[in-house]
Symmetry: C2
Subunit: 251 residues, 2 copies
DNA sequence: TCGTGTGAACGATTTCACAGCC
DNA sequence: GGCTGTGAAATCGTTCACACGA
C-alpha cells in the first residue's frame, strides 16, 4: 500500500513516470493534426484557448493534457507550435519507426494501407497479407500482397528483423481469431482489430479494437431518444440541448 | 435547481427517462454481438458472469449496464438471451429503420457500404454519393453511385421521404467540411465522420467521429512506454501488467 | 497583462458488497 | 444456492479558479 506499490499512485512528480489517462492519449492525435495545419499556415504560437476551439474541447482540458507530459508552454504567450508538435510526437512514440502488417486486404485493408494515418507519425505499412488466391500477388501501393502462411517464417527469419511491431486485422469477423493466432505465433505482441470480434489472446499481447459501426449505433440510440422526446415525455438522453457535439473530438 | 430543471438529475425512478452513460451505450453493441452468437449456438440463458467473460469486462458492469434500462434478468438464473437481445435492440433504436447515405466512395466507403454493421440493426444503406466522374455511375452492391449534387434535391423532394437519417462521410480530410455543409443543406442532422477533421456545424446537428488511426497511435504510445520500461526506470503506463486487454471491448 | 500550470471541487463511471428473489 | 439489481464507496476524468511567471 506504499506510494509506489499501488499502481497509478506516484510519489515523485517526475513527469516521465506519470500515469496518463487514456482519454488524454486519444486527444493527442487531434491536437497534433491541428498543430500541423497551423504550422503549414506559418503560425508559430498558439494559446490553449485557440487550440481548444479548433479541437472542439475546452481550454482547461488542453492545458491539463499537456501538463501531464511537462511544461511546454510560455505563460503570457502560449505554446510554440513546432516545439509542442515535437513533444506530442515524442509522447505518442511517433519519433520511432513502427512497421505495420495488415492482414485482410479487402476494401477496408486497402483503405488502411493507402491512408495517411498508416504512413505517418512513425507508422510504415511493411506487409500486406491475405489468404484469397485472387488477392495474393496483387499490388497495393508499392507492396505485393503475400499469403498469410508467409507471415510466421518471415517474422522469425533474419533474427526477427522483418517482424512487424503491430498487426492490423481487417478480415471478416469469422477469420479474426485465427489471424490473431497467426500474428501471435509470428511474435507480434500488439494487435489492432477492425473485425467485430473480441479476441482471446495470451496475457502480454496488447489489443485495441476499432468497430466501424459503433458510432452509427450510438447515433441511432441518440436519435431514438430524440424521437421519444418529440413524441412523448421529456427524457434526458446522453446529451442535453446545447452541447450536441459528441463523438471523439468534442470533449 | 429543481429535480427536473437540472439536466441529468432525475426525481423519478422511471427507467425510460434515466440518463444513460455514453460508456454504457458503446458496450451495448458488444453485448448484442455476443448474444447473437450464443443464440445461434442454441443457448437460451446466460449469466452476467458468462457474458462479462466473453465481452472482456466485469460482471458488475454488465449488470449495471442492463439495470439502467430495466430489470431484464431472473435472479438465480441469469438473462434470457432472446429477450435480452430484443431489449438491447430497442434501447439502441435498432427496432426502427435508419436510412444511411455514404458520401465518398473510395475503398473506405465501399468497405462501409458492404459491411454487415451498416446493413443490420436497423441500418440500411440508402444512397452512395461521390464527385469523381469515374466513380459516379458505378455500382456498389445493389446501388448506383450518384453525384453529390443530387443529394440536396433528392432530400427535399417527395416531402423529404428520401432524406437519409444519418450521413456518413468517408472522403479525404480535405473534402469533409464541404460534404458536411452539403449534408446539412440536405437537412441531414446526424453525421458520422470518418475523415480526420473536426467539423464546424450549426447547433443541433449531431456529429460522431471515427478516426481509423487513433488506436494505432494509442498502440505506439503504449509500446513506447513499454520500451521505456524495458530500458530504464519503471513507468506505469496507461495500463499495469495483468490487464493488458485495452481498447473498446475490455472495459 | 496575459495565459500557463495546477490544486481543489465537481461530475461521471466503475467496482464493491450485499439484500432480495427465484 | 445462485445470480440479479442496486445503493454506497472508490476511482477516474473534467472543469474551476487562481497563483505564478513571462
Amino acid at each position: 500500500m506504499s506510494a509506489i506499490s499501488r499502481r497509478g499512485r506516484q510519489a515523485t512528480p517526475d513527469v516521465r513516470a506519470r500515469r496518463i489517462p487514456e482519454a488524454t492519449i486519444v486527444r493527442l492525435p487531434v491536437y497534433q493534426r491541428i498543430l500541423s495545419e497551423l504550422r503549414r499556415a506559418g503560425v508559430t504560437t498558439v494559446s490553449s484557448e485557440e487550440l481548444a476551439e479548433r479541437a472542439g474541447v475546452n481550454a482547461a482540458k488542453v492545458r491539463k493534457d499537456f501538463s501531464l507530459f511537462g511544461s511546454f508552454g510560455t505563460r503570457g504567450t502560449g505554446y510554440d507550435t513546432a516545439y509542442l508538435a515535437g513533444q506530442i510526437d515524442r509522447a505518442l512514440g511517433a519519433d520511432r519507426e513502427w512497421p505495420i502488417a495488415i492482414v485482410g486486404i479487402g476494401n477496408l485493408g486497402r483503405a488502411l494501407a493507402n491512408s495517411d494515418g498508416f504512413s505517418s507519425h512513425g507508422f510504415r505499412v511493411a506487409g500486406l497479407f491475405d489468404v484469397d488466391p485472387f488477392t495474393v500477388g496483387t499490388r497495393v501501393g508499392s507492396l505485393t500482397v503475400r499469403h498469410l502462411d508467409e507471415l510466421v517464417p518471415l517474422a522469425h527469419g533474419d533474427g526477427g528483423a522483418q517482424r512487424p511491431a503491430i498487426g492490423v486485422i481487417s478480415t471478416p469477423a469469422g477469420a479474426a481469431q485465427t489471424v490473431a493466432d497467426v500474428l501471435v505465433a509470428a511474435g507480434v505482441a500488439s494487435i489492432v482489430n477492425f473485425a467485430p470480434r473480441v479476441l482471446h489472446l495470451p496475457a502480454g499481447v496488447l489489443v485495441r479494437y476499432v468497430d466501424l459501426s459503433v458510432e452509427l449505433q450510438v447515433m441511432s440510440f441518440l436519435l431514438s431518444r430524440h424521437a421519444g422526446v418529440l413524441s412523448g415525455a421529456r427524457a434526458p438522453g446522453v446529451l442535453g440541448e446545447g452541447e450536441l457535439r459528441a463523438g471523439r473530438p468534442g470533449s
